[in-house]
């Protein structure tokens, strides 16, 4: 499979170009905070409930809130219908996504409570964990959960020996490497980093740098979406 042609990728993007991204803040009524994101072919809904009481009780922490994160794929979100419910992949993604978000939440404000983050993948097209984290981060802000910063995430990868930003499905499936990154772009702190495939040390440094740039662009969009919502509310 040929991925790069005249410096352009199979969907005509430049190596360092993100797919189109659209955030919709407050897309749900019942949740305390929510965000719908379209990121390329991904369609993802994130909701936040809490701080609220923890059940079962033995999970309570005396001096801080606990954070729970559930990444879940709708059965119709992928080509072949998948059986509902968690599988090993979604359990790992839930874990690393929780650990990606957890560092910026100020948990000490809410002892004995939980903040629950639910991310539903309605349509999947590579990079769902990153897009889910982006939406979750906005939903947390929408819910008024106190945070030290916003977490932004994107994947970097390698195709035809070129380091590229924000892989699509074919690049992810048949490319040479995939590396999702999440960070708080204002402090430069990385909160998620995974990699598989093949990267030389040089390529890795390039990739990490490109990931930083991608996250920075996304952070800007996240902030704009939040501002727009609150500006909209003030106008009313």
């Amino acid at each position: 499979m040929e991925f790069m042609k005249n410096g352009k990728r199979i969907d005509n993007r430049l190596p360092n170009e993100l797919r189109p991204i659209k955030f919709e803040v407050g897309a749900l009524e019942r949740a305390d905070g929510s965000c719908y994101v379209e990121h390329g072919g991904n369609k993802i809904m994130a909701a936040v409930y809490g701080p609220r009481a923890v059940h079962p009780r033995h999970l309570q922490q005396a001096n801080r809130a606990i954070i729970r994160y559930r990444y879940n794929m709708a059965s119709f979100s992928v080509e072949e219908r998948r059986r509902p419910g968690p599988d090993r992949r979604s359990i790992e993604i839930s874990k690393v996504s929780r650990e990606a978000i957890d560092p910026v939440i100020i948990k000490e404000f809410y002892p004995r409570s939980t903040i629950d983050i639910f991310v539903e993948i309605l349509q999947a097209d590579a990079g769902t964990r990153s897009a889910g984290i982006n939406a979750a981060s906005v939903a947390l802000a929408d819910a008024g959960v106190p945070m030290r910063g916003l977490i932004s995430s994107c994947a970097v990868g390698k195709v035809d020996d070129t380091v590229v930003l924000d892989l699509v499905k074919e690049e992810d499936n048949y490319g040479q490497a995939d590396m999702p990154v999440a960070m708080d772009v204002r402090t430069g702190e990385v909160t998620l980093l995974q990699m598989d495939g093949h990267l030389t040390l040089d390529e890795f440094e390039q990739a990490l740098e490109l990931g930083k740039i991608g996250c920075a662009s996304i952070a800007k969009m996240q902030r704009e979406a939040l501002i727009q919502k609150y500006r909209g509310e003030e106008d009313e």
Binding site: L28, E29, V78
Partner: protein, 261 residues
């Protein structure tokens, strides 16, 4: 919702009901605004997002070739599932479908199946396989009356769906053989007043609901009472008539009165 607020709300809604009024200003037999949007999920062969007021469900229909049941080799297969994901309500919990999700799925499934909405005999394939139709209802926002929203979403997604013949080498894609158009109408009874399309507050207060599914000619295809309250035979008769005519109106508004062809 703590107990005091719950009680105040309850009293308020009952007071209103006595005057044939509702908290959101609707008439007793009036639905909240209904929005249906189809084709959102390109990865599914059919899809529909239905909003009834703030209630929101997304239904995906996947169509795949597979084995028929041994006792019905010439018949397509429908499998319906409802996920009450915890994103949609503070009262939903992660885990396999509970009795509420299962009841919802089975009522939607029976509505589609028993009304003959799909001609299952037209779902055979030349190699002995048949089309399997998975109807997956993903609830996104629960503000009452999930049953009607789920049933409507299932119907709209089926009408939207295509048999992916090309992908599996069975010739050109084709729509599903839709023959009926079952619409569910749910009512609650508050102190003798029948209300259609109960909001979450209304259905929480009413101790029982009755869902009536009816077809193009107004005949009944399915019914389900749920909740620990009771209904008199007279109330049931009134609800059934009201629901059957309301279903026609909803169908006309959304599908222009006909879904065949």
């Amino acid at each position: 919702m703590n107990d005091v607020i719950a009680e105040i709300k309850r009293d308020y809604i009952y007071e209103l009901a006595k005057r044939s009024e509702r908290a959101d200003g609707r008439a007793l037999d009036e639905y909240r605004p209904i929005q249906v949007e189809v084709g959102l999920i390109g990865k599914a062969e059919g899809s529909a997002r239905v909003k009834i007021g703030n209630t929101q469900v997304l239904v995906g229909v996947k169509v795949q070739p597979g084995e028929p049941f041994p006792d019905a080799p010439d018949t397509g297969v429908i499998i319906t599932n409802v996920e009450l994901v915890p994103l949609a309500s503070p009262s939903f919990e992660p885990g396999p479908p509970d009795e509420n999700a299962i009841e919802l799925a089975r009522v939607v499934d029976r509505g589609v199946r028993e009304s003959g909405a799909i001609d299952l005999s037209q779902l055979t394939l030349p190699d002995g396989k048949v089309w399997l139709i998975f109807i997956d209802v993903h609830v996104l926002d629960h503000d009452g009356n999930l049953m009607d929203a789920a049933a409507l979403g299932a119907l709209a997604a089926l009408v939207n769906a295509k048999k992916p013949c090309e992908r599996y080498g069975y010739g050109p894609d084709a729509p599903l053989p839709i023959k009926e158009s079952p619409v569910a109408v749910t009512a609650v009874d508050l102190d003798g007043e029948i209300m259609l399309d109960p909001s979450l507050d209304e259905e929480t207060i009413a101790s029982s609901k009755l869902t009536v599914i009816s077809g193009l000619q107004g005949a009944l295809a399915g019914m389900q009472k749920s909740g620990t309250g009771t209904l008199s035979v007279e109330e049931i008769a009134r609800i059934v008539k009201l629901a059957s005519s309301k279903a026609m109106q909803i169908r006309d508004d959304l599908f222009g009165g006909s879904t065949d062809g």
